[in-house]
Subunit: 236 residues, 2 copies
DNA sequence: TCAAAAGTGTTCGGACTACACCCATGA
DNA sequence: TCATGGGTGTAGTCCGAACACTTTTGA
């Protein structure tokens, strides 16, 4: 701390907006704070950045502590730095959002942190500016998912097209034509049809698909037009 | 610093990637560092975040110190937090990028900071991870400008369509058909034709246009298709 | 009069949307 | 057999891309 010693230190925290999809609805993982201030109030999972870890490492460590998961999709969202966002100290928080397969998440950890999954329209009032963070993350997810095949990160290995469609419909709070939807998705060439069917949601059963991971990596940044009339949706 | 006193402090800096357009080429404003470490080396304009200002305020103040400009387009880019990005102390830097009308920028300030405008393909080696920051900002600009009419922020009040086209062509390092380009831009309804012409670049002269600011604000988030074949360009 | 840049229209193909019926199955 | 959700094809429209000639005027 030699050279810039006259600078007042500001603490740096990470907060994680963790999305999961249970096959029907998009959900958010929240915890009940175990420490003061704001003990017992709902909050995003977060923590401080250790001097010896980068921001990305810190975010991954925090996610792992809560979910047990590594190597999941995670992206830096925004740095939140209003002066009084934390009424106690001056803390800048770098928010990350993660998309996880809800089934891989380790249940037992949730008890330790008093974690629960919330549907997006039933999110309680959160501490500090965490509701703002969640809103920002939702907008970013809507925006990005309209252009890039990012939502596969939320799905299990095998999934059906009707599942995929209900995920998109939930995120955009709209209803899409299923013929157009499946044609569009299949035309990306990212999906590989399986021989077996999911029979939980219908008598006829829906074919499973898996992601073609090579094409997925190649095409991830291509602009797709996954959503009809994106202009008309409130994306930002 | 009462409640989280056990946390090691990390300093927070801001760095600004400042883009300007001189009518022909997109440029970047860099300064020559006046302080150690890395004295005299080229660098982005930056500074520390004061305890009493938000990140956005800090970024605006830094921009103003160098350019004299207020109220310009500025957006948070990314928080850079590798452990050894600054070989001295542990400093996390929040990068912002700004788009300014190069003509409004106050020349005299540049002397104070030894600032200079650099063409994008002639950027020198910068301190720390500043070259990474510039690359990230360029990609973000390409990405965003393909979908939103953001580049008007770089133009003076009155501009011509050929100027606009050369700006786009510079950013995407491509050549666009001028018939399609002007039709597309005019179809946004954002441009208001003036009666006078710019005669600096041609004998015939090109009509000036101004931005319809109301429509611009309304339509800013609409998805436009400003660039032909965005898939084929390296946008991310 | 010539060189240099501005301005403008049409045709074609591909992509998106709207729309309705049959299929498979478990109850 | 019937109710439920899965799966598929087509026609029309719109949008974007390709493409070439005329206009203006200063030198």
């Amino acid at each position: 701390m030699a050279k810039y010693a006259h600078q007042a230190p500001i603490l740096i925290a990470i907060d994680c907006i963790i999305f999961g999809f249970d096959g029907e609805r998009l959900k958010l993982l929240l915890i009940q704070r175990g420490i003061e201030p704001e003990m017992h109030k709902w909050s995003l999972m977060g923590g401080f950045v250790n001097t010896k870890e980068s921001l990305d490492e810190a975010a991954n460590n925090i996610l792992k502590k809560l979910t047990g998961l590594e190597g999941v999709y995670m992206e830096q969202l925004h740095a939140f730095g209003a002066v009084y966002r934390d009424p106690g100290d001056r803390i800048v928080s770098i928010a990350y959002f993660a998309l996880i397969d809800i089934h891989k998440y380790e249940q037992q950890l949730s008890h330790e942190y008093h974690a629960e999954w919330f549907e997006l329209d039933k999110i309680p009032s959160l501490i500090f500016d965490h509701n703002d963070m969640v809103d920002t993350a939702r907008k970013k997810l809507r925006y990005k998912a309209a252009l890039h095949p990012i939502l596969f990160e939320l799905l299990p290995e095998k999934f059906t097209i009707p599942q995929l469609q209900s995920l998109y419909e939930g995120i955009y709070d709209s209803v899409f034509d299923k013929r157009n939807f499946s044609r569009k998705l299949l035309s990306t060439g990212l999906l590989i049809k399986q021989k077996d069917k999911d029979k939980l949601n219908s008598k006829k059963g829906a074919f499973y698909y898996v992601l073609d991971k090579n094409k997925y990596k190649e095409n991830f940044h291509a602009f797709l037009n996954l959503i009809p009339n994106p202009d008309h949706l409130q994306l930002v």
